[in-house]
Symmetry: D3
Subunit: 67 residues, 6 copies
């Protein structure tokens, strides 16, 4: 039953495989629930659709790179 969701930026296929595999393994060990019961949802977001500290992530990244 447990449902694990990660809200993040764009992901590579390999990262998707690893996140699903390791989140499931980790949670299964800690919760003593078989891996088969777990669902993982990977939510990819554009940088323009995420705000951090009151600014778009796009802007935060641009400012960081211009330093």
């Amino acid at each position: 039953m447990p449902v694990i969701t990660i809200e993040t930026g764009k992901l590579e296929k390999e990262q998707k495989v690893l996140l699903v595999e390791r989140f499931t393994k980790t949670a299964s060990e800690i919760l003593k629930i078989p891996e088969q019961s777990f669902i993982v949802q990977l939510k990819e977001n554009e940088s323009d659709n995420i705000g951090v500290g009151g600014k778009l992530l796009t802007q935060v990244i641009a400012e960081r790179n211009s330093k």
Copy 2:
């Protein structure tokens, strides 16, 4: 006020119409709240973005089809 959300795979337009219609009707009957108050959110996910039992759904489907 009630908000119903379904996280699932790709949907046909006809499925969207039916899901919204029937979820709303069902919940309205059970909760005795007018249909007008209900919001339904249909969240379509790529098979690569869903994990089941520690594997990407894409992989699970491929393995099932190769049996």
Copy 3:
């Protein structure tokens, strides 16, 4: 895999049984996915924790009852 979530007010046990049963049956028929694959999450919220039209639901209900 599909995960259905309803955000609503306080629920009776009987309503929980019916919501889970009928949401699962409805979605299974429309999506042609076996019932066994479905997860339903029932999220109960206090009226003070829901806003409708800019007011707490508690206030909206009180105003409706005072008419």
Copy 4:
């Protein structure tokens, strides 16, 4: 830590900047938590993927415009 999410329709870039800025400022003032701690998630949905009162939002808008 607070995470603010809005589920809505398509957004212009300018609307994204304003939503992130003002949600963060408003919540920071009310909760007395520094703006730096806030995350905002902007979730854009197609009108076919939202149901209001048992109908797709697309249909609701079409009916409204045809009056």
Copy 5:
């Protein structure tokens, strides 16, 4: 239709009223959608149920207060 959700710590009633009022007003102005269409969900979380930077918020607060 828009649904605004904030995941945060424990809230005072007054904070709930203000968050619902101002989030709705702000979003209504920016999105040009009537306030009546908005739903706000206030999700209160225990400090033990939130992780920041790999630690429980309870621990982060304790460490901050011990400085």
Copy 6:
């Protein structure tokens, strides 16, 4: 920015510490994002509020234990 959420049953404090620690560490390694940027939300649900395969989890557990 990444926000990781797990919807599960009741948790012990020790499980909360481990879930936050290991989810953050795992995601940080895979996404090459500093641990400090991660938020984890632990959502505990009553067994009566979760449906699996069309039945309340409470009922599923009872049936499993009666075998």
